[in-house]
């Protein structure tokens, strides 16, 4: 069989990746399914995302904010930073599956794959012929995972569309945040998507193990709403057992005091402190400048919770004259849980994260190299494969069709001409993030041989290209 089992980068030298030899087809949107497929790819699978140009992924449509309006969307679609998070390491095939030819290609891909993942809403899948039954017909032992916002054909919400922020609200996650005297706050990032992706990755790996033992695939359904609900499960039990759920109380939580985020020297610098138990309270009393808190007056958490406002004042007086790092370090040396409130720049320059190789610069088809967060998972015997950043839309269409499906080049040409298959748009057009050299400077990450242009020159070049394109089209 003419079959290319290797994702970009090929097998990792001397290491066995748990999903080597596994092929994943992802037909996803946004974050949940794409991130699950990214995880599987980084742990060895050949992870292929099937992408439409007529209805591209939201993270493609977004594009980079600095690209001028009117610039070729086919290029802009490869530029949004978050794509590196959702799709690093994958291969991309541009394919319109709502045509008969396109659907036939998808069937051939699925027939040669082990896993199919989607997060389309439940009502869309039958229409696109992407149900478990549809795809199991071409691959009987398929591991199929759907991750809709609201699973289940019985759901009154089955046709509803959501973003992570909507799901945070619906599932009760947003009610975990807020000041007691104010409206609740939107979390602002897609927590339900990500925990669904992590749990979904786990479920797919478990299902592959069982398939290898029994020969049986399965259908996994992971509704993002229920996953977010599972993450706040204790609050559901609290309601049942106490008849009420304690309302949000800023950064304080029941059973821990003092706890909060306190101001430090400098604009917008803060330190988070949790005196988790009586031992930590005793430790706090040994910190220079806080020894007056030692003694029996606040020996129990009940006493400290009753005096929380006064204790916050004491801590604020102490933190305000220190930097966030000084405060956190002094507290930690004494044995108290504390951390600076890091912002994104702090993460990039954080020596601890650098020592753990949290960020990497990986090959990118438009930028040469681009910034990627690796994995929150470190394993002593399994080094994930960080082969590339996000692919361009359709970057691997021809490779996939010839090597995986076994198509002749002429057939690929025919499908491209018919608008069924798309190859990467203007593959020779390279860009540069105007601000990326700052990241390079502060993060000390090894960057590929650089062709940095000053941002101004770069923007001029883009405008010139656009003017040229306009001339080519003519009046």
């Amino acid at each position: 069989m003419n079959d290319d089992r290797h994702a970009p980068g090929g097998p990792t030298e001397g290491r066995h990746l748990p999903l080597e030899g596994i092929r994943v087809i992802e037909f996803g949107y946004g974050i949940a399914a794409p991130v699950a497929a990214r995880n599987l790819g980084q742990f060895g699978a050949d992870s292929i995302r099937v992408e439409s140009r007529r209805k591209p992924d939201s993270l493609r449509v977004g594009g980079a904010g600095w690209i001028p309006k009117g610039y070729d969307p086919g290029v802009r679609w490869d530029t949004m930073p978050s794509l590196n998070f959702s799709s690093a390491g994958k291969r991309s095939i541009g394919l319109e599956i709502d045509s008969d030819d396109g659907y036939a290609v998808l069937q051939q891909l699925v027939a040669r794959s082990d896993v199919f993942i989607t997060n389309m809403s439940a009502d869309v899948l039958p229409r696109l012929r992407l149900t478990y039954a549809d795809l199991q017909a071409v691959r009987p032992d398929l591991v199929y995972m759907s991750m809709p916002p609201f699973g289940d054909a019985r759901s009154p919400y089955r046709s509803f569309r959501t973003w992570g922020q909507n799901l945070s609200a619906i599932s009760g996650v947003d009610r975990m945040i807020g000041w007691p005297d104010r409206d609740p706050v939107q979390l602002g990032f897609a927590y339900p998507d990500y925990v669904s992706a992590q749990a979904g990755t786990m479920a797919v790996v478990a299902a592959l193990d069982r398939r290898d033992r029994t020969g049986q695939g399965c259908e996994i359904e992971l509704s993002q709403y229920e996953m977010a609900l599972a993450a706040i499960g204790p609050a559901v039990l609290e309601l049942g057992l106490r008849g009420t759920v304690r309302s949000t109380n800023g950064n304080r939580v029941e059973g821990v005091a003092p706890q909060g985020i306190y101001p430090c020297r400098g604009p917008e610098r803060w330190v988070a402190v949790s005196v988790r138990d009586d031992d930590m309270w005793a430790a706090l009393g040994t910190v220079r400048g806080l020894t007056h808190l030692a003694g029996d007056r606040y020996a129990t958490v009940a006493l400290r919770e009753a005096a929380a406002d006064a204790l916050d004042e004491q801590l604020t007086a102490w933190t305000s004259v220190r930097t966030d790092w000084e405060a956190a370090t002094e507290l930690q040396l004494a044995g108290v849980a504390a951390s600076p409130v890091e912002d994104p720049w702090d993460l990039l320059t954080d020596p601890h994260l650098a020592a753990r190789e949290a960020f990497r610069v990986l090959p990118h088809p438009r930028f040469g190299g681009d910034l990627v967060f690796g994995q929150a998972v470190t394993m002593s015997d399994t080094e994930p494969r960080f082969a590339r950043a996000a692919p361009g839309l359709g970057q691997d269409s021809r490779d996939i069709l010839t090597a995986v499906v076994g198509m002749e080049d002429e057939e690929v040409d025919r499908l491209v001409a018919a608008g069924v298959v798309h190859e990467m748009n203007r593959p020779d057009t390279t860009l540069e993030r105007p601000f990326l050299h700052w990241i390079h400077t502060v993060s000390h990450l090894p960057w590929p041989a650089s062709t940095f242009e000053p941002a101004e020159l770069f923007m001029k070049r883009l405008e010139a290209e656009m003017a040229r394109d306009a001339d080519e089209v003519g009046p």
Binding site: N166, N251, Q259, E268, L348, A376
Partner: protein
């Protein structure tokens, strides 16, 4: 049970930071044995704690996380316990450990020694900052995990400190990452024959759920706007808007969705300004007018209850969610229609409502198991799983070790 992990055995020494990992493995069919001190795990007292009608006190956190696990008592601080722990680790496929916040662990805990002595064992460890790196000895909490994860400067109100979610959500994602890594390690073992050490940092776990709001922002701009309200100004409309009875969460910046929202507002409130091209372009073009736009949106939302607005908005193709309280969830039509609740009878507590396990395999999510009492399964585990004799077990009991 969904049965994917029916043959997997887990020793659970985990504290709050990854108790959910064990629950996830239980949901997929694993045999998870919770090891507690003879007087019960500290997690049994973890807030929120409830006193039910019968007078029994129960931690809602523990009741959720321990459901379906077996409980064995073992005083790990006693030297006498060491051989029993060794036998448990030899029996198990996986051990879950949180050195920073769990119940007392063996003095001089040496994770690498465990791995060497039990080469097939997967040792899954969650710590605030991981096992390597300059801050590996730092203590942590759910709050400090959020703080270290780089996203809090964008959450909350401008005139107050950054705001962290409560509810253990940093620990929940440390748990989902740990469960994922544990499965990957088990699969690696099928070909290598070796277990391994998994190192999860709560800091990185938080980064793994919030990157689009964190580090990737610096790839777009040099100066990060310190706006607590997240994307509210940069990509309007996005955020929470008041309704008659609470609030709804609206994400309406994609072109078609904005158009649908604007014409709805025009139709119901008579506002003919909002459909002007000035506001119809990119989210960035709307940005200077965010205060006006938000006020116009609230003229519409405040005419509805949150559930009615949610359903009508969805009918019009606008992504909206009601900001539900936990009590609202119990009344939610989707959760009702899809049998999302499980009711567990506990002999001491009565009926407890649980959300169903979130993963369905071939249509079956499985049930939620019971909360084990302290040491409820000590004898059966020591006898059947570890092959200990009644005399050995009696000896451990006499010494107070179990």
């Amino acid at each position: 049970m969904t049965g994917l992990l029916d043959d997997i055995k887990v020793v659970d020494l985990a504290g709050p930071a990854i108790t959910y990992t064990g629950r996830m493995l239980v949901d997929l069919g694993a045999d998870v044995v919770l090891v507690e001190p003879p007087d019960g795990s500290r997690s049994r007292l973890l807030a929120p704690v409830a006193t039910v009608a019968s007078g029994v006190t129960i931690s809602a956190h523990f009741a959720y996380m321990a459901a379906g696990k077996r409980s064995v008592t073992l005083d790990l601080t006693s030297a006498v316990a060491a051989p029993t722990l060794e036998r448990m680790l030899e029996w198990a496929d996986v051990v879950l450990v949180t050195p920073d916040d769990s119940d007392p662990l063996p003095a001089g805990l040496d994770l690498e020694a465990w791995s060497e002595a039990h080469p097939r064992l997967v040792v899954t460890v969650v710590t605030p900052f991981g096992l390597r790196g300059p801050r590996r000895t730092w203590h942590g909490s759910d709050l400090t995990g959020w703080a270290a994860g780089g996203v809090l400067p964008f959450v909350g109100d401008a005139d107050r400190p950054p705001l962290s979610p409560a509810g253990g959500l940093a620990y929940a994602t440390a748990s989902t990452n740990a469960a994922m890594a544990t499965m990957l390690a088990l699969r690696t073992r099928t070909s290598t024959g070796r277990g391994q050490l998994i190192d999860i940092s709560v800091q990185e776990a938080v980064m793994s759920v919030a990157l689009e709001a964190g580090p990737y922002m610096v790839m777009e701009t040099v100066s990060i706007p310190y706006e607590r309200t997240g994307m509210r100004r940069s990509t309007p409309p996005i955020g929470q808007y008041r309704t008659k009875d609470g609030a709804v969460s609206i994400v309406g910046y994609m072109p078609g969705q904005w158009d649908a929202l604007a014409s709805w507002i025009a139709e119901e409130t008579g506002n003919d300004a909002i459909t002007l091209d000035t506001f119809g372009g990119t989210p960035a073009a709307r940005s200077p007018y965010v205060e006006a736009i938000d006020a116009w949106i609230e003229e519409l939302t405040t005419r509805y209850t949150k559930q009615d607005f949610f359903e009508e908005a969805q009918r019009r193709g606008i992504p909206v969610g009601p900001v539900n309280s936990i009590a609202d969830l119990v009344a939610d039509p989707h959760l009702e229609a899809t049998e999302a609740w499980r009711f567990v009878e506990d002999p001491e507590i009565g009926t407890i409502r649980y959300p169903r396990p979130p993963i369905r395999v071939d249509g079956d999510a499985g049930d939620v198991g019971r909360i084990p009492s302290v040491g409820q399964h000590t004898d059966e585990v020591l006898r059947d799983a570890l092959g200990m004799t009644p005399i050995e077990i009696a000896g451990l009991r006499a010494s107070g070790t179990i």
